[in-house]
Symmetry: C2
Subunit: 584 residues, 2 copies
C-alpha cells in the first residue's frame, strides 16, 4: 500500500518535553562572545564551541539550522535547481588546474593523506562541479543545467569570530549553473535572484539584495543578499527614490560637478606638530576639511612599484575594493607597513602628501578638482598649505577611490543615497568562462562545434543565516524568532505542575491537543521555578507561550504571551487551538 | 496564519522530467568497480568518483541517500534520541585525552591548521560528545541522555574500495547515550536495538541482528546489523532453532565432546616435499585431515615474545578476532613475515609445527583432545606423524581459536549452526566507562556524589546502506529497489512522444495526475529510442513503470511493468492511480 505522503513528512519531530531534551541555557553572557547573536546562541544553548571557529549545534540550534536549510532546499527545488552532494575533501590537482591551489590564501586548508597525496578541505566547489560537468555533459541538449548542494564547508579563517557568523566549519548552500549562451545565463541568474528573495521572505527576515563586487571569485555580475541589522559589518548604499542598492564597496561615488578653481594662494610649508590626523589639522590650523587631502600608502602590485600613494579628500573615506582595481595596486589590498613608508618617504603616516612624492600617486576624482589645498609635506610634523595641481605638482591619474556618502546623488540618476547596515547571507555571481576555460569544460553546440561553458554560482550561508536572523530579531531578554524558523512555534509553561494535579492534567491535555493539531511545541515539564522557566522561554525565543496555573483553571482561560510584541491575552480553553493557528 | 503541515512536508521535490535532470547512465561496466553495487551505482549515474575513496552523489543517488537518512532520523526521533550536529574537524587534544591520538591507526587523518595546531578529520565522535556532555550535564536529573547526529565522516582507508561501501568520506548516523546506572544503559540499548530493527524493516531489506565483537572501540556488549547478501564480506553464524546469531568473529565454537585418546603410534619424521598445505599433506600421505594441525606464526604483543604460534586442527580455520584476545598476541592481529618466521624457526610456513618450537604455543580446544596427529617438523619438507601431547611435547594452553562450522551445535544450546553472508550496516555498543573515565565525565548522583558516566554508542552507515541495499536487490538489468528507498517510485515511459501528439498529451496528463495524487514520479520526456529509455528505467530500478504508446491510447489501457517481479499488466486509464497506490 502506497504511503501518499512523502516519507519526509514525519522526518522531523515536532513536539518535545524539556525533561527529555538537552536545553542548556545559561544566565551569564560568555566573556569571549563579542556580538549579540553569538552571546544569545551560547546562552540559549543553541551552539557550543569545540575549538576556535568550530561549533557543535545543540538540539535547539539544530532545529533552527534545519528549518533554514529546508526553506533553502524547497526554494532551490522550485527554481529548477537539482540537488547533488559533493565531497568535503577535494583532490588538490583540480585546484592546481585553475591556479587556485597557489593563489588561494591560507584560508584554504591544504593537507596530505596517508599516501602523501595533496588534498584540500573544500571552502567552495567550483573546481569539483566543473570537473563533474565536463565529464557528464557533452551536448547542448543537456543545457542549461543548474545543480546545488547543501554541505559543510571549511575555511581556515585567521581569526574566527562572532560564533557561527564567521566560523571555520559552516553549512552552505552552493549552486552552480552551466550555459551555452548568455541568454540562458541571464535567465537562470534572474531565477536565482528571485529564489533568494523568496528564501529570505519565507524566513521572515528584513533584507535587501544589493549589487556587489565580484571580488576574488571573478566574473562579470554579482548581487549580495543582506539581512538588515544595525550590527551588520557591511554598509549598503541605496537610493531613496529607486530600487538601486549596492554594497558600499561597489557603489559608484558621483563625479564632482564643480570645476577646479585657479590658484589663489602661494604654497607654504607650515609646522604642524599637533596635527597627526585630518581632524587635528582642521582643529589647530583653521583649514576647511574640504581643502585637505588624505594620502595613504599601500602595497603595489609589482617589484618596481612596491609602494603606491592614494589620495582622497580629507572628509572622504578610501574604498579599498575600488582601490585594488588600479593595476598598480596589490590585490588583495594591503596598507604599507610604517617602517617601509618611513624608509621610502622620510616621514610617518601622519605627514604624507603628494607634493614631491617619489612613488606613483593616484587620486580620487574629487581631489582632481581641488585647489589651494593642504597636505602632508613628507617631513614629520610639517604640512604644505595652498597646494595647486600643475603648479606645485604634476597632475595625477584620477579614479573613483572613495566611499559614497549619505545624501549624495544616486549613481542610478534617481534620488539620493541613504545607508543601511547589513549582514551578507547570500551571493550570486555570473562567472563567465573563468573556471570552464581553465578546466577545459565545453560541450558541442547545435553545429557540432565545441563551445566553452558559461557558468554562474550562487551561495547561501545557511549557518550564518541563523546568526543574522538573531542579530535582527532580539531584545534584552533573548531571541525574538520569526515563526518560520523558531525552534518550536509554541511553548507550554505550567506553573507548579509538580504540586498541582489540576495543572499537570491540563498541561498534559493541552500538549496532546496541540500535538494532534500539528503544532511544534516545547513543553516545559521541569521541576523549576516559574521565573526560571519564563526566562528560558524568552531567552530561547519561542514566538507563542501558553501559561497554565491554578488560577487559570478556576477561570477557564489560558494565559497567552506573544514573544515579539510582549502582548498578553486570556484565551478560553476551547479557543486556544484556533487562536494559536492564526497567531502571528 | 499557521501552516499546519511541518515545513519539511514539501522539502523534497517529488516529480521530475528527465530532460531537466542529470541522468548520467552508462552502458559499460566501469573497469575499476569490483562489486555489483559499485558497478550499478556508477552505471545508473548515482555516484561519480572525485578521487580515491571520494565520491559525489548525483541526483538519483542523493535521493536514495536522503531517503535512507530520513528513515534513520525518524526512527531515532521515535526512540527518544535527540538530534545534534558536531563538527567534522575535531581538536586533537580531545583525542590525546583518551589516548586515541596515538593508538588510532593512519585511518585517523591528522593535520595542522594555519596556526600549527593539531586537528583530526572525525572518523567517529566519542571524544567530542563526551567533552560536550561533561560540560553540559552535571546532575543525575539530566540522565539518561541519548544524542545523535547524521554527519559526514572521514577515514583515511589504506585501500578504499567497493565505491561508497568502503569510501573515505561517508555519511553516518552516530548516537551516544549516557547513564548513571546499568539499568537505564540496558534499557536504552534495547530501545536502540529495536530502532535498528525498525529502520531496516522500513527500508525493505532482509537483515539480521547479530552478536558482535566490541573490537578496538572497547566495551562489554555489542550487536551488528547485517543486510543479507551473497556478496557480503561478513559471515553470520545463526542457529537453525533459536534466535541466536553472531558474527563468525564472535560465535563461540563448541567445546570438543570427546576426550583425548591414549597414544597408539610412535612419533616419526617423514619427508613431505610435496606437502606445502594441509590439503597436499592429506592427499599425498593418506592422513585424515582431522589428524593434522595447522600452526600459524603471528606477531606477539611484547618485545620478549615477538612471535607466537597458534595451532588449530587441519580442517578448522583460525579466527583472528578470537586470537588477538590472547594477551601474548599483538592486537590488532598480524601474521608474522616469512623472513622472521624462517629466522626464528628455521623452516618456512609450510613446515611449521608445535614439536620443539622455541616460541610460545597456544592451541585451540579442539587440538587439545587430539592424539597421534601430524604436524610440520620445523624443517623444510618434513612433517612429524604420530605426535602426542605430554609424550612428544608439553601440553599448551588452550583457547577458542577457530571459526564455528556449519552443522555444529549452536552455542545457545538449541539447534545447529547455519551460515549466511552479510554486510554490516549498523553496530551498537555498550562502552561502559571506557571514554568517560579517561575524560573525567561524571555527574552528581542522588546523594551529591560524583559518579563516572556509563556510555553507549550506536552507529548506522547511511551511505553504506545504499550500497548494501543494491547488493541485495539487483538483477542482470540493474537495480531492483524496494519501494521505500527507490529514487522515484514510478516511472512514466512514453513511446515516440515527440512524434505522436496523442502520446504526448496522455503522458503529460498522467504526469500531472500522479503529481496531484502525491506520487514520486520520473517522467522520461527525452527524445530517445524506446529501448534506451527502457534500459535506463531498469538500470535505475524504479519499482513501477507505466508505458504509453499509440496502441495503448487505441485500447484505453496503460501498460504496467513491475521491476522486481517482471510482471506486465494492462491497466485501464481510469484505474491507474488506484492500481499504483496499492502496487507492491
Amino acid at each position: 500500500m502506497l504511503k501518499c505522503r512523502p516519507i519526509y513528512f514525519n522526518n522531523w519531530i515536532s513536539v518535545m518535553r524539556v525533561s527529555k531534551y538537552l536545553l542548556s541555557t545559561q544566565k551569564e553572557t560568555p566573556a569571549d562572545a563579542e556580538v549579540i547573536s553569538h552571546q544569545l546562541m551560547l546562552r540559549a544553548g543553541m551552539i557550543r564551541r569545540n575549538a576556535s571557529g568550530l561549533y557543535s549545534w545543540l538540539p535547539t540550534g539544530l532545529r533552527v539550522l534545519r528549518k533554514v536549510e529546508a526553506i533553502v532546499r524547497e526554494e532551490m527545488n522550485k527554481a529548477g535547481s537539482v540537488e547533488i552532494l559533493m565531497p568535503m575533501v577535494q583532490p588538490a590537482d583540480l585546484w592546481v588546474e585553475t591556479g587556485r591551489f597557489e593563489k588561494f590564501g591560507p584560508e584554504l586548508l591544504r593537507f596530505q593523506d596517508r599516501h602523501n597525496r595533496d588534498f584540500v578541505l573544500g571552502p567552495t566547489h567550483e573546481e569539483v562541479i566543473t570537473d563533474i560537468v565536463r565529464k557528464e555533459v557533452n551536448s547542448y541538449k543537456q543545457l542549461p543545467l543548474n545543480l546545488f548542494q547543501i554541505q559543510t564547508k571549511f575555511r581556515d579563517e585567521v581569526r574566527p569570530r562572532f560564533g557561527v557568523m564567521r566560523s571555520r566549519e559552516f553549512l552552505m548552500k552552493d549552486a552552480y549553473s552551466f550555459h551555452l549562451d548568455q541568454e540562458t545565463m541571464d535567465e537562470t541568474y534572474e531565477t536565482m535572484f528571485q529564489a533568494y528573495n523568496n528564501i529570505l521572505t519565507r524566513l521572515g527576515l528584513a533584507f535587501r539584495p544589493v549589487m556587489a563586487d565580484t571580488g576574488s571569485i571573478g566574473g562579470s555580475m554579482s548581487h549580495e543578499f543582506h539581512v538588515l541589522a544595525n550590527s551588520g559589518e557591511d554598509l549598503i548604499a541605496y537610493s531613496t527614490e529607486s530600487d538601486y542598492a549596492a554594497n558600499i564597496e561597489k557603489a559608484e561615488a558621483p563625479m564632482p560637478t564643480e570645476t577646479r578653481q585657479a590658484p589663489a594662494l602661494e604654497m607654504s610649508l607650515v609646522n604642524t606638530p599637533k596635527a597627526k590626523t585630518i581632524a587635528e589639522l582642521v582643529e589647530h590650523h583653521g583649514i576647511a576639511i574640504e581643502k585637505t587631502v588624505k594620502t595613504l600608502i599601500v602595497k603595489g602590485a609589482t617589484e618596481e612599484t612596491p609602494l603606491v600613494a592614494l589620495v582622497v579628500r580629507g572628509d572622504h573615506e578610501l574604498n579599498e575594493v575600488k582601490a585594488e582595481k588600479i593595476p598598480a595596486v596589490l590585490a588583495p589590498f594591503e596598507f604599507a607597513d610604517e617602517a617601509d613608508i618611513r624608509k621610502a618617504v622620510g616621514a610617518g603616516p601622519g605627514s604624507i602628501g603628494p607634493v614631491g612624492l617619489e612613488i606613483p600617486v593616484y587620486i580620487d576624482h574629487g581631489v582632481k578638482v581641488m585647489s589651494d589645498f593642504g597636505a602632508g609635506a613628507n617631513q614629520d610634523d610639517k604640512h604644505y598649505f595652498g597646494i595647486n595641481w600643475e603648479r606645485d605638482l604634476p597632475e595625477a591619474e584620477a579614479f573613483d577611490l572613495r566611499n559614497i556618502i549619505e545624501g549624495e546623488a544616486s549613481p542610478c540618476g534617481q534620488g539620493t543615497i541613504a545607508l543601511l547596515r547589513g549582514i551578507e547571507v547570500g551571493h550570486i555571481f555570473q562567472l563567465g568562462k573563468n573556471y570552464s576555460e581553465a578546466m577545459n569544460a565545453n560541450v558541442l553546440d547545435h553545429n557540432g562545434k565545441a563551445q566553452t561553458l558559461l557558468m554562474g554560482c550562487y551561495g547561501v550561508g545557511v549557518s550564518r543565516m541563523v546568526a543574522a536572523a538573531i542579530e535582527q530579531n532580539h531584545d534584552d531578554r533573548g531571541i525574538t524568532w520569526p515563526d518560520a524558523i523558531a525552534p518550536f512555534r509554541v511553548g507550554i509553561l505550567p506553573m507548579n505542575m509538580h504540586k498541582s494535579h489540576r495543572v499537570k492534567d491540563m498541561a498534559e491535555k493541552l500538549y496532546q491537543d496541540m500535538q494532534d493539531a500539528g503544532f511544534e511545541v516545547l513543553f516545559d515539564d521541569r521541576k523549576e521555578r516559574a521565573g526560571v522557566m519564563f526566562a528560558d522561554m524568552e531567552l530561547v525565543g519561542l514566538p507563542h507561550v501558553v501559561v497554565i496555573g491554578d488560577r487559570n483553571i478556576d477561570n477557564g482561560v489560558f494565559e497567552y504571551k506573544n514573544r515579539r510584541t510582549g502582548e498578553k491575552q486570556e484565551i478560553p480553553f476551547d479557543q486556544i487551538i484556533d487562536f494559536l493557528k492564526s497567531a502571528k
